[in-house]
């Protein structure tokens, strides 16, 4: 396997840390297209300016990926080993059904090449993560992610139960 990585890593996004600096977009477009052009980035920061809420969005590499199910040329494949979804450029006909199917709106399109385009995690070494100084983007082991979610949930429970005697 070329560019092999740990098989269980995933991109984790913390919107509360994001400052909308959009360095991730520059890193992404430079890595993939050789230009600093946010329009050609595969990760996009959605900006809700009036609330100062920023959410970086990229392919979630779903288990049950609707983009690939609907693709009429099977150009969207998932590697069972490393668990990311890739568009095979020379199979993609540019019909955009995958974009229409993606529930998160993160399947992109390269007008230059005429094919669909999603985050490919830079082959296991995502550049956006490297350049995200507030650490809003992390590339974590699935186990770490679970741990993170667990502690977040535990913190919520703790908050809710403050002042109450522990029942259990």
């Amino acid at each position: 396997m070329v560019g092999a990585v740990a098989v269980t890593k995933q991109l984790v996004i913390h919107p509360e840390r994001c400052t909308a600096c959009r360095m991730c977009e520059l890193a992404c477009s430079f890595e993939h297209e050789g230009v600093f052009n946010p329009n050609r980035s595969r990760i996009k920061v959605e900006i809700f300016a009036e609330e100062a809420f920023y959410l970086p969005m990229a392919c979630y590499h779903c288990d049950d990926y609707p983009c690939g199910q609907v693709c009429p040329t099977e150009a969207i494949i998932k590697d069972p080993n490393n668990r990311w979804i890739t568009v095979v450029d020379n199979k993609c006909i540019g019909c955009k059904m995958c974009m229409q199917a993606c529930p998160f709106g993160v399947m992109g399109f390269s007008a230059e090449v005429g094919v669909a385009q999603n985050c490919d995690l830079c082959g296991g070494n995502p550049q956006c993560v490297k350049f995200c100084s507030p650490n809003a983007l992390e590339f974590l082991d699935v186990e770490e992610t679970r741990h993170h979610k667990r502690s977040m949930f535990a913190a919520k429970v703790r908050e809710a139960m403050k002042g109450e005697a522990a029942v259990l």
């Binding site: 199910q69 009429p72 059904m97 229409q100 399109f109």
Partner: protein
Amino acid sequence: MTSPIPQQAHYVIIGNSAAGLNAVDATRARDLSSSLLLIADEDTHAYSRVATPYYISREIDDSTLFYKSPEYYQQRRVTTLFGHRVVALDADNHQVKLAEGTRISYGKLLLATGSTPSRPPIQGLEKVKVFPHWTLAQAKDILERTCLSESAAVLGGGFISLLTLNAMKSLKPSIQFTVIERLPQVMPNLLDEQAARMLEQRMTTQGIQVKTGVEAIELAELPDGKTKVTLSDGTEQRVDMVVLGTGVRPNVDFLAGSGLQIQRGILVNERMETNLPDVYAAGDCAESFDLLSGERVVHAIWPTAVEQGRVAGANMAGGASAYPGSLSMNVLDIFGLTSASIGIFQDQAGLEMLRFFDFKRGIYRKLALREGKRIVGLIAVGSPEEVHYMGTIQSVIRRQIDVSPWKDKLLQNPNLYGRIVLEASKGKSSSPLPTV
């Protein structure tokens, strides 16, 4: 090499495209041991019908077109009967009959026979050579003839016609095209009048003649090999080839007298079952129901065929999968304009229409709302960027989320749809994804 025709199979699937093959996958996910026979009248392993326009324009090669390898069938233990046409269904005896007379017994039967180009009542249609575009063989015909043509009339201004035209034009830019559409606009199933005008304008600037509100009434072959097309407005076209793109209809004629309930297509319930025991139908040949209106409808589109095929396949193998109803959706990127639509978008009583124009960027968006707060459809025309939020908005439509808090911002900022879904999901464990 001819393989012996099996006399029976537990699963018999008729159709070798989106619905049939997704049914194969769904069936095999549950039951790998029972026999499965796939019958198709075209003598080839599966190719993608969506890709044939790109085959005409020579943008793809066979490896993309034939998206399923012969090994696909072997791996799933599928016996194939390609090049065989089923001519009758004998439901009492659980049998289908092939053209050469052989009878095959089935345990469970899936009808995924798809569509066929309709032939409008045009005088002389049977006597002249016309070019419909549905199968690969027809695409090859078009490719060949396009190379020899300098002019073409395209009958019908719908999805397939215009995709075919676009492909022919890419292959041979010098051809003079005339599009003849009976209705007052092109793409009546995909676009509203405003969006259609934008597309028609693009076509006109590229030298394509667009005639709407007229239809061909007579075709005749001229001594020089050209075809004369007489139109309802009294004018004539003399062209090297006539592309027939006046829509498709479900391939169900052979089922007459079988006892199956058929209106436009084969009537199915949410499990994709027909009125006959152990007979299922999915895809273009099936008449299911619209997700939003609940009305009976045939949505001859690829995503619907995929979804219905999966439901049918799962249920045939003992699953309990329910189809939520189909949502009409299309996306088209031709003549430098991307247009997409979902659900109900034509002006009608009881629906509130919100419109947004950005003339500078060439964007037109329209939202249709029920009760002033639930989105039932939209149109977006502009760049490929416009397709980005189609999936997110689908979640909003499928779940009929109240969008009134965001109503005044929706058109300007499509990114809000994701936000709406998130907000609506708060406190709910249900997945926003349609589960099939």
